[in-house]
Symmetry: C2
Subunit: 270 residues, 2 copies
C-alpha cells in the first residue's frame, strides 16, 4: 500500500487507529479454547468487529511465537484473512527485527514476500546496512524504532550526543536512508513532549504511535502535536481494545472501544 | 546450561566454536530438495558432522522465518534434534528480539520454554525493561548486542557519549542488570581492536563473537585479546562451515572446516 492510499483510507474512515493484534492465548475468552485455532478465531472476531474503525492492524510476532510453528501458522492465517477480507487495511508486522545484511534480507522476504504484510518494525541499533535490506520493496514499509513508549527508552534512546538525543540521531540518519514513501518511525504515545521537535525534523514521515490505553498515552496530545498535512499518524491500541471483554461479547466490546477512539480521532480529520 | 558446564565442554573438546545454522533453502545442496524438510535434513547432516568440534549451535531465526510456519517447524525440529542427540551442546537462538515488557516476556517464553534454546540474542535499544523479562530463567542466557560485526555498527554503536561509545554504555549498564551467569555480549570478530577495553570492563562475561569466515574476522586475534580465565569466548562461523561444499559431501566438508578451526582453537585452551 502506498502513502496516497493510506491517506485516502484515513480520510474515508475518519480514523488513524491501528488495532494491535497482541493475541495472548492466556488472555482470550475461555470458550474459544475449544476451537482448532483459538488465536485465529479470536483475531477473526476482533478484525471483523473493528475493521470499520481501523486503518491498520498490527500483529506483534511475540504473541504468535510463544506457540512456535503453530503460532506462526495463526499469524499467516490472520494476515491472509485481513488481506482477503479487508484489502484496504494496512498490515504492520510488529517484529522489531534487524541483523547483518544477508540476514535482514531474509527477514524482509519473510515479512514482505511470505507473510504479505505491508510494513515491518525494525530496530536501528545495527545501523544502515541492517535496515536497508528492508527497503526497495514496492509499496512496502520499514517502521523504524525511534523513541519507544516504555520506561527503558530513557536508558539509551535519550542519551545526549553532541546536543541531541540518540533517538534524534536515529531519526536524522535514517530519514536520509529512505523517503516518507517507504519509512515511518515509532514514537511512543507516552513521549508527546518530544513530538513538536520530531515534527520539525521529519515533517512528512508517518509516525506509528503505540502506547495509548494500557500504557497510559494520551491520544489527543498525540494528534495535537504529531499530525502533519496528510495526518501522518497511526495510533495503536492493543490491550485496551482486544481485551475489552473476556466473555462471548469480546468482539462487540472491542468494536465499542474502537468506535469510541475513532470518534475522538474524527474531530482531528478535516 | 550453566557457566560451569559450558566451560567444562570447552575444555573437553578444546574448542570454543559455535556453528551458525543460517540454513538458506536457496543455498543448500540441490539433491536435498527432494526431502520432506530440506532445511532439517541439511541441519541434521551439519550437526552430526560438526558436533565433535563445536560447543554451540546458533540457528538464526531469519533463515527459518523466510519459510514461515514451515520454517519455524524446521527450527523446532532442529533444536529438538540437538537437545536429544547432543545435550551437552549450547543452543543459541539468534533472534535479536527486544520489545516492551509484556512482549519481551512472550518472546522469552517462546525461546526458552517452547523452543528450549539455552540462549537468545537480544537488542538493547529499548533499554532495561525490554531485556529483563529474558532474565531469571534457570540456566538460560541473554546474549546482548554490544558491538556488531557489520559496517553499520559505526552508525550508532560507535557514537561518543561523555567520552565513551554507545556500545560501551550498553555494556556498562547491562552488566549491572545481570551477572556473567546469565548474560553474554555480542562483539563482532571484525572489532578486535576494542576487545582489550571490553575485557577491562567485563572480565568475567562470555562474549559471542560472530564474523570469522565470510565476514573476514580473525579468530587468532579474537582469542589473543578476548579470552578470560574461563575461555569466555564463543566464536561463531556460519557460511564458511555450512556451505563448504554444495554437493553430496556437504557434511564431510563442513566437518573438515570445523575440525580445522577447532585445531586452531585448541592451541589457546589450557
Amino acid at each position: 500500500m502506498n502513502r496516497t492510499q493510506l491517506f485516502e483510507q484515513i480520510q474515508r474512515k475518519k480514523s488513524f487507529l491501528c488495532v494491535g493484534l497482541d493475541t495472548d492465548t492466556r488472555k482470550i475468552p475461555a470458550f474459544l479454547k475449544a476451537e482448532s485455532d483459538p488465536v485465529f478465531s479470536f483475531n477473526k472476531g476482533i478484525i471483523d468487529a473493528t475493521a470499520p474503525y481501523a486503518v491498520a492492524f498490527k500483529p506483534n510476532t511475540a504473541f504468535y511465537e510463544i506457540n512456535g510453528s503453530a503460532g506462526w501458522l495463526s499469524l499467516e492465517k490472520t494476515i491472509s484473512y485481513i488481506k482477503e477480507q479487508y484489502p484496504e487495511i494496512f498490515v504492520i508486522a510488529d517484529a522489531k527485527r534487524g541483523d547483518i545484511g544477508n540476514t535482514s534480507a531474509a527477514y524482509a522476504s519473510a515479512f514482505f514476500d511470505h507473510l504479505q504484510s505491508d510494513a515491518v518494525t525494525v530496530a536501528p541499533y545495527m545501523g544502515k546496512d541492517s535496515v536497508s535490506p528492508f527497503l526497495g520493496f514496492k509499496d512496502k514499509w520499514v517502521v523504524l524504532l525511534a523513541l519507544t513508549s516504555n520506561s527503558g527508552a530513557d536508558d539509551f534512546q535519550q542519551m545526549e550526543i553532541n546536543g541531541n538525543s540518540l533517538f534524534e540521531h536515529v531519526i536524522d540518519k535514517a530519514s536520509g536512508w529512505a523517503s516518507p514513501d517507504e519509512m515511518m518511525f515509532v514514537v511512543g504515545a507516552t513521549q508527546t513532549k518530544f513530538l513538536t521537535k520530531i515534527r520539525q525534523m521529519i515533517p512528512d514521515y508517518f509516525l506509528l504511535v503505540p502506547g495509548i490505553g494500557a500504557q497510559g498515552g494520551d491520544m489527543e496530545a498525540v494528534a495535537k502535536y504529531g499530525m502533519n498535512h496528510q495526518c501522518g499518524l497511526l495510533v495503536n491500541s492493543s490491550r485496551g481494545i482486544i481485551y475489552a471483554s473476556s466473555k462471548t461479547d469480546f468482539a462487540e466490546a472491542a468494536a465499542r472501544v474502537a468506535e469510541k477512539i475513532q470518534g475522538a480521532m474524527a474531530r482531528f480529520i478535516k
